[in-house]
């Protein structure tokens, strides 16, 4: 196996390079003086300037943030409550409801978008932020539900029972015991939902109103029409934000892992200290 180590590194490096190539290009050309990407005109921040003065872009960004926040939070509430509830009561309909609620991430996005569009039209809803939030929440819930459920499986049942034994109602158990211990899972599920919602193009295209633009939609439509390096600048900014998020969440993950480890020290030593 050691023989192939060099080969392994080579292969992985090449693949990594290819993986990052488009991203790197986008970033590099965002600093390009020239408007045409094939010509390097020199280092320039003009596209960033243009970006920050672009009102429509900020409008779209604002919409995306509001949308992602609302959907992920709503999904977090619905998904977490359901995951917790289902560990205690398991009606026969549980399997069915679980399956159906997962469908939004199993169905190809184009179909989902179309389905929502037709449905909302039939209901007579006005296309805009409301329809966006409803649709996004639908595909965010599975992420929250699955993340929380996975964490719940490993959780100690007797903690809830101890709380009940000491006088806590089910609601109190939820708030005092379950939720605090679930916090990391809820958070990561919500982050995941946020990212999924923020990045969504297809579904948003279908269920958005005429005046409501989300960031991905704006980028997409601009890509289809004429491409200005302003897009590069925008992409670079978003990339920077993503990098920070990834870094942030990995730090969080590591610190939680350390905290939940019981003190591994010598029991004997502790006995002496008693």
């Amino acid at each position: 196996m050691k023989r192939y180590q060099k080969l392994t590194y080579l292969y992985l490096s090449v693949m990594m390079l290819l993986l990052y190539l488009p991203i790197v290009l986008v970033v590099v050309y965002s600093f390009n003086e020239s408007k045409i990407t094939s010509v390097w005109g020199g280092f320039s921040l003009q596209w960033y300037e243009l970006l920050f003065r672009d009102q429509a872009m900020f409008e779209a960004l604002k919409n995306s943030v509001i949308l992602a926040l609302s959907s992920s939070l709503l999904a977090a509430v619905i998904g977490t409550l359901a995951a917790v509830g289902f560990t205690r009561i398991k009606p026969w309909s549980k399997g069915v409801v679980e399956y159906v609620s997962m469908l939004p991430i199993m169905i190809p996005e184009i179909i989902l978008g179309m389905v929502f569009m037709a449905y909302f039209a039939m209901l007579g809803l006005r296309f805009g932020m409301l329809t966006l939030v409803l649709a996004h929440t639908a595909f965010c819930i599975p992420y929250n539900y699955m993340t929380v459920k996975a964490r719940l499986v490993g959780m100690d049942k007797s903690l809830g029972e101890a709380a009940r034994d000491l006088g806590a109602s089910e609601v109190r158990v939820l708030f005092d015991i379950t939720l605090p211990l679930l916090a990391p899972a809820v958070l990561s599920g919500t982050l995941l939902s946020f990212a999924m919602s923020f990045d969504d193009v297809i579904i948003s295209l279908f269920v958005t109103g005429v005046n409501v633009n989300t960031l991905p939609i704006k980028i997409y439509t601009q890509m289809k029409t004429g491409v200005t390096p302003e897009i590069n600048a925008l992409c670079t900014v978003i990339l920077g934000a993503t990098l920070m998020l990834v870094f942030f969440s990995s730090v969080l993950h590591r610190s939680r892992a350390v905290k939940s480890q019981p003190a591994a020290g010598d029991d004997a030593v502790k006995e002496e200290l008693k």
């Binding site: 101890a162 709380a163 034994d165 806590a168 019981p262 029991d267």
Partner: protein
């Protein structure tokens, strides 16, 4: 106020088509220390959970201080549990854990502080208020669990093998502490263990449990000296189970024929019918051995094994009819060697009938 703090009436419970509890009846008095003793899987934890309200029985009633609480939720019962794995809330420190139930009851700050201090002193953990469960040793966690359950001043405390995870020395120490604590507080304890020593040391009464049924309920000395079944006799302490035919009974003595020897046993309150087979239990430490020269005596046996087990010397002897009996002695050696002929005997009072079919009285 009812005489009994707890009453179980005909409790049955099954899980997935298996009968786990098959009709349990028990009364526990105020301030009593009762132990549920049995090996794993016999249903003792399930029984405890039903008393706590964490499970509901299929049939039967649970009465606390005379009131039917069978359908009452666990948080509404004046019963608290010390869980086997302690179940301390990992995200709360010692003080928060112990005071949890008081906060639920919305007690004011002074009350909580006072009670907290009191109960922590009781378990000798004063000063540990700010520690997190992950920073505690097994013994300390267990005390926190006890303190948390006691701070409520329940009328009944349930303890599910609380000392199981501790090492031997610590266990012995905690046994004494728990017993003292219980006497001081005057709270009824229902204690689960599979360790018969623990049960004998701590209890006012022991409930020997087997396969979902209460095999025998009695004080430690009743259980030990007057076991009702061969199971109880062998589960608590070491006993020899001997079969024979009843010849006759007079007052408190019974004459029994074993092989071609006649021995005497006590009646233990039973009325045994003659010409019927009967089973007796004689504890290993009550088996008397003496040098035997003539093999004619029916209870003459050959020593087959000498070994040390459970802190005592075990001597296994084999009778003419291939039956084996075990005698136990203190010390590490005895005057008999393997292969020697010995005569086996016992004092009548130490031979107790077991597995008697009639409705007998077990012990005085």
């Amino acid at each position: 106020m009812s005489e009994n703090i707890l009453q179980l009436e005909n409790i049955t419970k099954s899980f997935d088509d298996t009968d786990v509890l098959k009709g349990l009846n028990l009364s526990v008095k105020h301030g009593e220390f009762v132990t549920l003793l049995g090996s794993s899987g016999c249903g003792k934890t399930t029984t405890l959970r039903i008393i706590a309200g964490l499970e509901m029985p299929d049939s039967g009633r649970v009465l606390l201080e005379g009131r039917d609480v069978t359908n009452t939720e666990p948080n509404k019962r004046d019963v608290n549990t010390v869980f086997q794995n302690y179940a301390l809330f990992p995200h709360m420190n010692v003080a928060q854990n112990v005071a949890y139930s008081l906060r639920l009851k919305r007690k004011n700050k002074q009350y909580i502080e006072k009670e907290l201090g009191g109960v922590l002193s009781l378990v000798q953990l004063k000063g540990y208020e700010k520690r997190m469960p992950s920073e505690l040793s097994g013994g300390q966690m267990q005390r926190v669990a006890i303190a948390r359950a006691l701070v409520n001043k329940p009328c009944l405390l349930l303890l599910d093998e609380p000392l199981g995870a501790l090492d031997l020395q610590l266990r012995r120490q905690m046994q004494m502490e728990l017993k003292t604590l219980q006497k001081r507080l005057g709270i009824a304890f229902i204690y689960i263990t599979h360790d018969q020593e623990e049960a004998l040391n701590m209890s006012d009464r022991i409930v020997v449990m087997r396969e979902g049924q209460f095999e025998q309920i009695g004080s430690p000395s009743q259980i030990y000296n007057y076991p009702r079944t061969s199971f109880v006799a062998q589960f608590v302490g070491n006993a020899n189970i001997i079969r024979g035919t009843v010849l006759g009974q007079k007052d408190k003595m019974v004459s029994v024929r074993i092989g071609n020897t006649i021995v005497l046993t006590q009646s233990a309150g039973y009325h045994l019918k003659p010409d019927r087979d009967a089973v007796f239990a004689v504890r290993s430490e009550h088996i008397k051995l003496a040098h035997c020269t003539d093999e004619v005596n029916g209870l003459c046996a050959r020593v087959t094994e000498k070994s040390i087990a459970g802190g005592m010397l075990r001597i296994v002897v084999k009778l003419k009819d291939e039956r084996e009996l075990t005698a136990a002695r203190f010390g590490i050696d005895v005057e008999f060697d393997v292969g020697d002929l010995v005569s086996v005997s016992w004092d009548a009072v130490h031979a107790v009938p077991v597995d008697v079919e009639e409705v007998g009285h077990g012990g005085e």
